[in-house]
């Protein structure tokens, strides 16, 4: 448990960020800043059709001095190991998506490299490009609580709705890149990455090399947001194959266009709600279908779907819940991890749906939320229990007070009613949300992450594979260790993640860096403190040599999760938040201009308040892009706007003032009470903004809410919204009356997949 504050406590203070000065000086070395003697540059030749087979690959590059590698050069298994071994490292003949890697070439001269020509002859097949009409199911998930059908039958009111969210690109400003160096009878990988040990494991399978011949070292990484969770294993595989073939170091850096076209994005989701309530607004049944577009291979889709489904009911208590999740294959580049990991999609749906429920029933949407919000001791959709730190009502109250929400709500509505044609209208909207910290269910137990501490000449060094990607890992880990050891923050070094040096602390994902890995490090520090028995670590080192303490994750007591039934505590705890968005609509251009975003986030404990605020502000801006600006236009299965000219992320002028607020309700099993913070803030802005647009009269159920979509959006309050007869079960879906097309979430599933992974019998259609 948390110890009493100490004289030199650094936790909770804004100590100097470890990497701040080097980054501001331009001295921090990212992967493209590194060079090795005799290094070659590499390029990936990719498919240009979304589905079919490769008849022939023609080139004359080997004779022109290029190093050339294709699937026949893979010494081990031609797969990128992750959840399932279905994704080839190099397409062996079957094409499942455009931009699929086929051939790798390397040359010392980058000019020659980009002038090289390769001709691929295809036998095209019909592609599945629209996930809502795909019948190839990849994963299904089912969450069941109570008796949904009976509860719906008995409900006073039923409100339905369908909500859609598009792809989103992580858009780390540093594109992906890897350098592979052949050495030690194997290969060393340097690169931009979130998960050194994912790469380490994937290369063992691909290259058929023992673990000790593979070394993975993280370079300074220019942002990740999930986008460097799994795809770097692919790039590392490519660079390693070329490096081993050439016997020379190989650098493989993507330009922006390739990074946008080929690497993973946030999964598009279609979520359908059918909700039963009593006449005074108590939730009695949530019936939710969640459909996710996996793209062409499994990658992380099952776990994205899982987190999405678990969050789909929102931060509300409801005795009868059915959540049916399904991910389907399409012939598009695989979607993958992105901050929020399925939750932004389903929380968008439920929070817009709650607004529509209130509207349809003539209730105040804040009252509706407050009435049903999960309180400590309440049961979640999976049958877990909200801990004493649960704070849905606190964040809601703080957000209302801070933004003067109710007054603005009334004022803007009155002003909009008075507004003439051509006058800008304002709206204000809100979203209440939560985000589970750490891996889902038994994930952390399965990971069994480890971290270590060792004494040094000047203090101690942290050994962990958790990477710094901007979020502040080095700083907060050093703070926690310093305080647990009762030494100065400056005396704690943090080793660069290098699989030859640090243990496997699990991937740098899932808002687990602070709460989970920080917790392991605190346990290491406490054990070291006991073993030092009053001695200073540096003094101990000088006398006795290095003392190393290594600890593994220990699950908090009382957590229970059943993977088979999806019942139990899906997460040890949740962080809670409420966003308020104020938006103005340009009457001529139909642009929605956010005027102010407020994000009130309860995160247990801010280890470093300034860094935590940075997470909230950054996540909020990224959520704003998701809501309004960022549209991935797919054409023939390939991103058609694969450049920053027309894939628009928020600039300074698109981003309004952000009021980020931290509340602390300590989690008993988090270090110093800390919960996860990284992902939380991206869940809220999109529904808050959509609800602000709804407030000014536009029925927004799909994002991004571009001017084109807003122009076509129907007015709020159409057929049925005002016709609720209390006491009579009524199905209210104003837009459905307008002929909304049937959605894929209900189409019959065909279990299975594409067929055999390594080439196999072609594409099932």
């Amino acid at each position: 448990m948390t110890r009493a504050p100490q004289a030199r406590a650094s936790v909770g203070t804004n100590v100097t960020r470890r990497d701040g000065a080097a980054k501001a000086a331009g001295r921090a070395r990212y992967i493209d800043d590194l060079d090795f003697p005799d290094m070659l540059h590499a390029r990936t030749i990719r498919t240009t059709i979304p589905c079919g087979s490769i008849r022939a690959v023609r080139h004359d590059l080997a004779r022109e001095g290029f190093v050339v590698v294709d699937h026949t050069h893979v010494p081990g298994r031609n797969v990128i190991r992750l959840i399932e071994d279905d994704q080839p490292c190099l397409a062996p003949g079957v094409v499942r998506h455009a931009a699929e890697p086929v051939l790798l070439i390397a040359h010392e001269d980058r000019e020659r490299l980009w002038q090289a020509e390769v001709d691929i002859e295809y036998e095209p097949a019909e592609a599945i490009l629209d996930y809502e009409s795909s019948s190839i199911t990849q994963t299904t998930i089912r969450i069941d609580k109570g008796d949904v059908d009976a509860a719906l039958t008995g409900a006073d009111v039923i409100v339905e709705g369908t909500y859609r969210t598009g792809h989103q690109e992580q858009l780390y400003i540093e594109t992906n890149g890897i350098i592979a160096v052949p050495e030690n009878g194997g290969v060393t990988i340097h690169g931009s990455m979130q998960c050194p040990y994912y790469i380490h494991r994937a290369l063992g399978v691909l290259l058929d090399l023992p673990a000790e011949r593979i070394r993975v070292v993280q370079a300074e990484t220019g942002g990740g947001f999930g986008g460097k969770e799994e795809y770097p294993s692919m790039i590392a595989g490519h660079a390693a194959l070329l490096a081993l073939a050439a016997g020379r170091p190989v650098k493989l850096i993507y330009d922006r266009e390739e990074d946008l076209e080929a690497t993973t994005k946030r999964h598009p989701f279609t979520v359908r709600h059918r909700t039963g309530l009593t006449r005074d607004g108590e939730l009695v049944a949530q019936d939710i279908d969640v459909l996710a577009d996996a793209g062409a291979y499994v990658t992380l889709s099952p776990v994205v779907l899982s987190r999405g489904a678990i969050h789909a009911g929102g931060p509300y208590r409801c005795p009868n819940v059915r959540i049916a999740g399904r991910s389907v294959f399409t012939n598009t580049p695989p979607n993958g991890a992105f901050r929020g990991f399925g939750a932004p999609q389903t929380l968008f749906a439920v929070e817009v749906h709650m607004e529509r429920i209130a509207e349809a029933m003539g209730l105040d949407s804040v009252d509706l939320r407050a009435r049903n919000a999960l309180r400590p001791g309440d049961e979640t959709a999976t049958g877990g229990t909200v801990g004493p730190d649960g704070s849905a009502l606190q964040v809601l109250e703080e957000a209302l007070g801070r933004t003067d929400y109710r007054r603005k709500r009334a004022e803007y509505r009155a002003a909009a009613a008075r507004a003439g044609r051509g006058e800008a209208r304002r709206g204000v909207g809100l979203a209440l949300y939560f985000h589970g910290s750490g891996f889902t269910g038994g994930g952390e137990v399965k990971l069994a992450s480890e971290a270590a501490l060792e004494t040094t000449e000047s203090g101690v060094r942290i050994l962990s594979s958790t990477v710094e990607i901007g979020q502040g890992t080095r700083t907060i880990h050093a703070q926690m260790v310093a305080d647990a050891l009762d030494i100065a923050y400056e005396r704690v070094e943090v080793a660069q993640p290098d699989t030859a040096v640090v243990p496997n602390s699990g991937p740098t994902v899932a808002s687990r860096t602070c709460m989970v890995v920080g917790g392991i490090l605190r346990a290491c520090a406490e054990e070291m403190r006991a073993r030092l028995d009053g001695a200073d670590p540096a003094e101990h080192f000088r006398r006795h040599g290095p003392l190393v303490v290594r600890r593994a994750y220990e699950a908090p007591p009382g957590l229970a999760w059943d993977e088979e039934t999806y019942r139990g505590d899906a997460y040890g705890t949740y962080a809670w938040a409420c966003d308020v968005a104020e938006v103005e609509l340009d009457p001529d251009t139909w642009e929605a201009r956010p005027l102010r975003l407020t994000a009130v986030c309860e995160i247990g404990k801010a280890i470093h308040p300034r860094l935590a605020l940075g997470q909230i502000e950054g996540g909020t801006a990224q959520g704003l892009g998701y809501a309004l600006l960022e549209e991935v236009v797919m054409r023939d299965g390939l991103m058609a706007n694969a450049q920053l000219t027309n894939y628009i992320i928020p600039t300074t002028l698109d981003t309004p003032p952000i009021d980020a607020v931290i509340l602390e309700s300590p989690y008993a099993h988090g270090p110093w009470g800390a919960k996860g913070v990284g992902e939380l803030p991206i869940d809220g802005p999109a529904p808050a903004i959509a609800n602000a647009l709804r407030h000014l009269g536009l029925d927004v159920r799909e994002i991004p809410a571009t001017p084109e979509r807003l122009m076509e959006a129907s007015a709020v309050g159409g057929v049925g919204a005002a016709t609720v007869a209390p006491g009579a079960a009524r199905e209210l879906d104003p837009a459905a009356a307008g002929g909304e097309p049937a959605q894929g979430a209900g189409t019959p599933a065909r279990e299975g997949g594409w067929g055999a992974p390594d080439g196999g019998p072609g594409v099932a259609a």
Partner: protein, 174 residues
């Protein structure tokens, strides 16, 4: 196809150009293809890797340098255009410039890849810029980590202005 990115064109067929320019206050003479991007000349011929590439098409501003005092995207400037001119990169600030100190201290740098370009772009601002001045001056520099708020705090504090924005906590600071 889209951006030129690192897919060069024309450089190889051209003879090398020997050109002088003033780089971070020091005269340099460099041999490079005339159409080679200034970004690449700085990083490769001059060994100054503090200038970063984010998009290769002048949209993200990560490669911002000052050319005769004006911020430009060095991915859009040909080497020949730098001839006889003055170029300032992040390295020219030495590491202890008030803007650099403020970015490090106030959370203006998270992942850090946009930071050099952001700082160089902010250099062009006068003393005590207003928030609107800062927003406008940095509109060509994308950051995906911060939501820009911490960058505003850093730039405005570097100008010596006691910003009105409240501090996040009663933290110790440094």
């Amino acid at each position: 196809m889209g951006s030129p990115g690192r897919r060069p064109g024309g450089g190889r067929v051209s003879p090398l150009l020997r050109a002088r320019f003033r780089l971070n206050g020091v005269d340099r003479e460099v041999d490079a293809p005339p159409m080679k991007r200034l970004l690449d000349v700085l990083r490769e011929e001059c060994g100054l890797t503090g200038t970063k590439e984010g998009c290769g098409e002048g949209e993200c501003g990560a490669c911002t340098v000052l050319l005769d005092g004006d911020p430009v995207c060095s991915c859009l400037v040909a080497f020949a255009q730098a001839r006889d001119r003055e170029v300032l990169t992040i390295e020219g600030l030495g590491g202890d410039h008030p803007l650099q100190r403020a970015f490090a201290r106030w959370g203006g740098a998270q992942c850090g890849i946009c930071t050099p370009g952001m700082i160089v772009a902010a250099l062009a601002l006068g003393p005590d810029p207003s928030l609107e001045d800062v927003r406008t001056a940095l509109a060509g520099n994308l950051c995906r980590c911060t939501g820009y708020e911490a960058i505003y705090r850093a730039v405005r504090r570097a100008g010596g202005e006691a910003a009105a924005a409240p501090e996040p906590s009663a933290g110790a600071g440094t």
